[in-house]
Symmetry: C2
Subunit: 242 residues, 2 copies
């Protein structure tokens, strides 16, 4: 049978969700817990990877199992064997057709920028930026990402054939000194959200105009979008399925 | 000359403010930064120690220096040499009579208990407790701490001669799933706040009554107050001077 799990984790302590050859990954911790329960190796299939330092509030993965346990019992069995910075929020039995990556229809991410006084207790969770930013111009950039666009300029992975993605919603909201960038789309390529934020920041700093961001996007050339925001501000919030 | 500094830090990564023989302390990091600036060892005198895992939003220390720098320059010089989880919030020149420990007249602490769903991104900063608590009885206990009392039952350090302390204010406020315990007093002994919270929790769980907490306090016997709340929920918020 197949189980679908929703997991949240603090990415600051890990090399990423899954990295070839790195021992310190979220996937290794999940597979270690599953191996204790199953007394054999069980492979974890995530909706996608997250980079080192990136957090998740609602990452999804599935695994196959020959143990038929109640959902809540499987959740407890996993959580009692996981480190305290990884937590299984939900478990459910799913059809064998379900695939955490290929069945997903959309993802939500958030990126947190703090323009207030530096707080050493939040540096793992926010990108601190202490200089002036033109926030309304940044909001204009966020809006311009909405719709179906070719995001080839905004990914590290420039060998992909299909770089067309649809952004359903994108906004930048100011809450005190916190700037919350929210984005919801049908799919995201490697580094795409962090490059979007990095380039939006260039507009906030007055180095580029919102119109230039659109030109860069239309040029489909990663070398024109060289900025990338740090990993610590990024959260994978939700993965949706039909 | 003498400098007074206000420092905030994430205690989760350290063995405490200062521990004999431990290399990984806040004081070591501060003294390393000061040694680079002064080209010699400079001793840091804190308002008091904090234990491993305990955070500070406004810890105070002083040091003596033969370098006369503007306050803001000294602050920048220190922050540029400190790890990202330690931050100097303020620097000022003070009189040679000023002593971070002996001149302090009061301290404020907070302790955060979360009774909501476990969040692995906040475990370094809150004590998660998932079972029912009688919060109004806990609030009664918090109130009973106010005033001048002998807190010998509530300290690890039972060899102290004077265990009389005055609590100016103490309260427990619920903000959603967060229980915020605030305490302001003229001085606190080792483990005192964490034992107060640990014993208050016993009342919340129904294992003790508020009247029994007062009896335990009056008995001046640490063995009657064996509970101690974990370090990760505790914050040194402010140290006050005349």
């Amino acid at each position: 049978m197949r189980y679908k799990c929703v997991v949240s984790y603090d990415g600051a302590n890990y090399h990423g969700f899954q990295v070839q050859g790195a021992p310190n990954t979220i996937q290794n911790e999940l597979e270690k817990a599953l191996a204790i329960i199953h007394k054999k190796h069980v492979t974890v299939y995530p909706s996608g990877r997250t980079d080192a330092g990136v957090h998740a509030l609602g990452q999804v993965f599935h695994f196959n199992s020959d143990i038929d346990m109640k959902d809540a019992n499987m959740q407890n069995a996993l959580n009692s064997r996981l480190p305290q910075d990884i937590y299984i929020k939900n478990v459910e039995h799913v059809d064998l057709n379900f695939h955490a990556r290929f069945s997903s229809i959309s993802k939500r991410y958030e990126y947190l920028i703090d323009i207030g006084e530096y707080n050493p207790l939040l540096i793992r969770y926010r990108y601190y930026y202490a200089h002036p930013l033109n926030i309304s111009l940044m909001q204009e950039v966020a809006k311009s990402f909405i719709g179906e666009h070719d995001f080839r300029s905004f990914t590290k992975n420039h060998h992909l054939e299909n770089t067309l993605r649809t952004i359903y919603d994108c906004s930048l909201v100011q809450e005190g000194t916190l700037l919350r960038f929210r984005i919801h789309g049908n799919g995201f390529m490697h580094h795409m959200v962090r490059i979007m934020v990095g380039m939006m920041m260039e507009v906030g700093k007055g180095k580029l105009t919102p119109a230039q961001i659109i030109e860069i996007q239309e040029a489909k050339n990663r070398r024109l979008a060289p900025k990338i925001a740090p990993a610590n501000g990024l959260y994978l919030v939700e993965v949706s399925y039909e």
